[in-house]
């Protein structure tokens, strides 16, 4: 059953590329159905534990796929964000050829991401990280203009460096453990013989993954890549691709494979706190909404890394909850950006003003996204940040907890500046709306509802999703 998550998109990708006119025409809907099925399966897992059914298809693979609660949450987020990205792409990408390539590449990304969250050995993990990354390089460069190529190039170079780190790390780990499956590497950590090699391996892997997740000071590629990509691609990248390829792998490896010793903890805590503050300060100075969101994304990833560095089960649960929330509200904000771009032709905050009357849906939903990002109750971002900060305080990390808490004021400041410059003001008569698409409005409202609802029914979310997560780690 589990291999369907990889084989079904692969099959669809294959079919789409056959020269069949009707299939090509319906490519968005076919991919949409596939991703909706993924969302439904993830949501319905509690009712019908399909992952327990025997998996004949798995015989094709040399690696084994395993399901746990973390994977389940990830599959859900991948489904939601990719679906949103797909349909935002549908209403913003105009050229027929680009549309078709876009769908194929999104499917390739989904294959990679689904596999990353399902596999249980480091080598396969590496392979699928690369598949995901390569698909996203092409996606960023989809428009083929100068900025897009520049953004892709930066990402490509940084990714290549990260790849080198990860390959070296695997060599060390293989030397020490003799096998790259999670279980083997984990048990090798309890053997004092190769402690140095293992620490080296884990450290190199950490470097590679910090680059991949775009944590400061390795964040240089993030703003360029996110802001130069087409709207649908920014959603996919910021919401999920870089998060799965970087942050999820960090969570998985340092949560349940490597042993998180005090040195790694300090590195992660520092990198997290530094990202939070530095990126929030940088976001304050941006004029372009998408660049601001990119910096905001770096800052929010900082919270997840910070929680990881804290190292307690509660902190991990908070990190994953924040991962989920971030995927939802950052996608929402990027849909808002797509909507602004489509309607007014720009995401530059200097040229936009007082749009609250002209596009109330975008204004209102972006406010919800912004407040959720800033951790203002009752939206979902508040709860995940609260859990993270509570975990930091419980672990005695008062300084980091305090930084994480007070950095919310910076987040709020740049989002208020955004609201003031774009929506909350007098309308300029020169701006005329080209008319927004109902599809974009639909996704804006849907994502805003998810972020508001998962904040409002926090207890349900906690009992059904967060609590089981705590059990995975140690």
């Amino acid at each position: 059953m589990l291999s369907l998550f990889i084989l079904a998109p692969l099959f669809l990708l294959f079919v789409l590329n056959l020269p069949l006119k009707p299939v090509n025409k319906a490519c968005f809907w076919l991919a949409g159905v596939l991703l909706s099925a993924q969302i439904l399966m993830a949501l319905g897992h509690a009712l019908c534990p399909w992952s327990l059914y025997p998996d004949k298809l798995g015989l094709f693979f040399v690696f084994n796929l395993v399901m746990d609660n973390l994977t389940l949450v990830m599959l859900l987020v991948i489904g939601i964000v990719s679906l949103v990205a797909l349909f935002v792409g549908k209403s913003t990408i105009i050229l027929e050829e680009q549309r078709f390539n876009f769908v194929s590449l999104v499917l390739a990304c989904v294959i990679g991401m689904n596999a990353v969250v399902l596999v249980r050995d480091i080598f396969s993990l590496y392979i699928f990280i690369e598949i995901t990354s390569i698909a996203s390089f092409v996606l960023i460069a989809l428009k083929k203009d100068k900025l897009a190529i520049e953004g892709t190039f930066k990402y490509l170079i940084m990714s290549a460096v990260a790849t080198v780190f990860m390959l070296c790390a695997m060599a060390f780990l293989l030397l020490a453990a003799g096998d790259l499956s999670f279980a083997a590497v984990h048990s090798a950590f309890y053997n004092p013989a190769n402690a140095g090699l293992l620490k080296c391996g884990a450290g190199l892997f950490l470097c590679g993954l910090l680059i991949k997740s775009g944590v400061a000071p390795f964040h240089g590629w993030v703003p360029d890549a996110y802001s130069s990509a087409p709207a649908g691609v920014s959603i996919l990248l910021a919401g999920i691709t870089t998060k799965v390829a970087g942050v999820y792998v960090l969570l998985r490896l340092f949560g349940s494979v490597f042993i998180l010793n005090a040195q790694f903890q300090n590195i992660l805590l520092f990198a997290g706190a530094f990202s939070i503050v530095m990126a929030a300060l940088a976001a304050l100075t941006q004029d372009d909404f998408k660049r601001m969101l990119a910096y905001s994304s770096i800052s929010q990833v900082g919270y997840i890394i910070l929680a990881l560095g804290c190292g307690t089960p509660l902190a991990f649960a908070g990190a994953i909850f924040h991962f989920f929330n971030h995927a939802i509200f950052k996608s929402l904000l990027f849909v808002n950006a797509a909507s602004l771009e489509k309607e007014f032709g720009s995401t530059n905050m200097n040229t936009l003003a007082g749009l609250g009357n002209k596009s109330p849906v975008t204004g209102f939903t972006s406010l919800i996204g912004a407040l959720s990002t800033a951790g203002i109750p009752p939206f979902s971002g508040f709860w995940s940040k609260l859990i993270i900060i509570l975990a930091l305080f419980s672990a005695g990390r008062f300084v980091y907890g305090g930084i994480a808490l007070l950095a919310s004021i910076l987040t709020l400041a740049y989002f208020l500046a955004f609201q003031r410059r774009v929506f909350f003001g007098k309308t300029e008569s020169t701006l005329s709306s080209a008319g927004t698409s109902w599809a974009l409005r639909f996704w804006e409202i849907a994502l805003a509802l998810i972020t508001a609802a998962s904040g409002a029914v926090f207890v349900l979310v906690h009992n059904n999703w967060v609590l089981p997560l705590k059990a995975i780690f140690w």
């Binding site: 109750p377 305080f393 004021i409 208020l416 906690h462």
Partner: protein, 480 residues
């Protein structure tokens, strides 16, 4: 109807009304206005209905345990129900006033839901017995006040709205840190549990100062006071709501709730709070003496009067605390009246600069008298209500032995008289300055509202027996 249900209704009527209002506003504008008024009035009515039983039989509590100690804990004790009744009554009158005041501006469809949400969040906050629940409602009021202050959407207005939002959120983040530290120290966010726990282990000073910072920022007390005068760019009913009914009262109320009723402050802290309050009262009274913008003068006056309330609550003796509780009522009534009068003047004379106003008494007699009555109450002239509350606080200060502080506050009270008379003279007395200031009265509904506030201030003083009895019982229960 059980008391628990009534308690839920007080909170839920406005909070659910917010979601219905946008639908209603599509049908008819006047239906929307009356619906918002009704939502707030119902809250007020239910609060008043609960008063007798709670003062007689004690608090009503609703408790549901939730993970991490983020429990749904609501309690309606005498302090909560008294504040809720006062706040919802004042808000209802203010909403009634805004029917005519706001009728010719854009964005009314945003105004009414925001006001109702504001009041709903305030009701939720007043009854919260869990710190996280309290924090959630606290931040909702910050969001709504941000939207309301920037109502006119001028660039500068929105900047000031942002300032108010950022200052209060900064304070509340410090406060949240304090709350989390309380959780570390006592193992609970529930006020009842904390109350028992602190009897054994006192709360650390750092925690107290963090929470205090949040409270001071919300109540616009020195050194976080500058956002409040700046927020005067909002429509006048909104400023009235911010100053008299909801926003700044939140800080005072939470101070009473946490530092009087739950974690009693020790003597050094009492003195620190009293000194901060005294400095705040004097500095802002001085600012009110020299400012030329009518709404800013009244705003500084709020900062100054809030100092008195903090003093009352910090004393820890019965008469002082009772004075503080009574002050919430009296100051709310009088200050709402003053701001609404200022709103009428601003709208009809097209300016709020006192240098360009003058001689308005002949053309606006009812506004003038209402302004004067409300000013008398703030100045503490007997027999107006404000006299009794201020008297109780000063007498409590002497009783606690703080002679110097009491003298400082007496001087502050004297300054109050000065700046309010100055404002009244400049606006209503003297010669008419320019033809543009020949202004008529406001609409009947607006006049009725300001007159109601003026009369309530007077009646509250004449029939002081009833509110002061309630305040005394509240104080006794809080200090238990």
């Amino acid at each position: 109807m059980t008391k628990e249900l009534t308690l839920f209704l007080i909170i839920l009527i406005p909070l659910t009304g917010v979601f219905i209002l946008p639908l209603i506003s599509r049908v008819s504008a006047s239906l929307r206005n009356w619906f918002s008024f009704a939502a707030i009035l119902l809250s007020a009515v239910f609060s008043f209905l609960l008063i007798p039983s709670i003062f007689k039989d004690g608090a009503v509590t609703v408790f549901k345990s939730l993970p991490f100690g983020f429990n749904l804990a609501l309690t309606a004790d005498s302090l909560a129900i008294f504040t809720a009744a006062v706040v919802s009554l004042i808000s209802a009158l203010i909403v009634l006033f805004s029917f005519d005041y706001i009728s010719h501006y854009k964005h009314q469809d945003e105004y009414y839901p925001m006001v109702v949400l504001f009041l709903g969040a305030m009701m939720g906050l007043v009854f919260s017995a869990n710190l996280i629940l309290l924090y959630i409602f606290w931040e909702i009021t910050a969001i709504t006040s941000w939207r309301l202050i920037g109502f006119f959407r001028e660039k500068e207005h929105v900047l000031r709205a942002d300032k108010a939002f950022l200052v209060t959120v900064f304070g509340s983040l410090l406060m949240l840190m304090g709350f989390l530290r309380i959780y570390q120290e006592t193992g609970s966010f529930d006020l009842f549990t904390i109350k028992e726990a602190v009897k054994l282990h006192p709360i650390s000073n750092l925690t107290i100062s963090l929470i205090l910072a949040g409270i001071l920022s919300k109540s616009a007390t020195l050194p976080f006071h500058t956002w409040l005068p700046d927020a005067g760019v909002a429509p006048s009913p909104v400023t009235a709501l911010l100053h008299a009914a909801v926003l700044v009262k939140i800080g005072v109320y939470v101070f009473a709730r946490i530092f009087v009723a739950t974690i009693p402050l020790n003597l050094p802290w009492q003195t620190i709070v009293a000194v901060i309050a005294g400095a705040s009262a004097l500095v802002s009274a001085g600012a009110a003496l020299v400012d030329t913008d009518l709404k800013r003068i009244i705003a500084y006056s709020t900062v100054s009067q809030i100092g008195f309330i903090f003093l009352g609550f910090s004393l820890g003796n019965e008469i002082g605390v009772a004075g503080g509780v009574l002050y919430i009522l009296m100051h709310g009534l009088a200050k709402a009246g003053l701001f609404l009068c200022a709103g009428i003047i601003e709208q009809n004379a097209k300016t709020k600069d006192v240098r360009h106003l003058g001689g308005l008494f002949s053309s606006m007699p009812i506004t003038g008298i209402s302004f004067l009555f409300c000013a008398f109450s703030v100045m503490a002239i007997p027999p107006f209500g404000g006299f009794f509350s201020k008297y109780m606080i000063i007498s409590g200060t002497f009783q606690a032995g703080h002679r110097i502080i009491a003298t400082v506050f007496l001087f502050g009270a004297f300054l109050t008289v000065l700046y309010l008379f100055r404002a009244f003279n400049l606006v209503f007395m003297g010669e008419k300055k320019s033809p543009s200031t020949v202004a008529g009265e406001g609409s009947r509904l607006m006049l009725a509202c300001v007159a109601a506030f003026a009369l309530l201030s007077l009646l509250g003083g004449i029939f002081i027996r009833f509110p002061s009895a309630l305040a005394l019982i509240t104080a006794q229960k809080m200090l238990l």
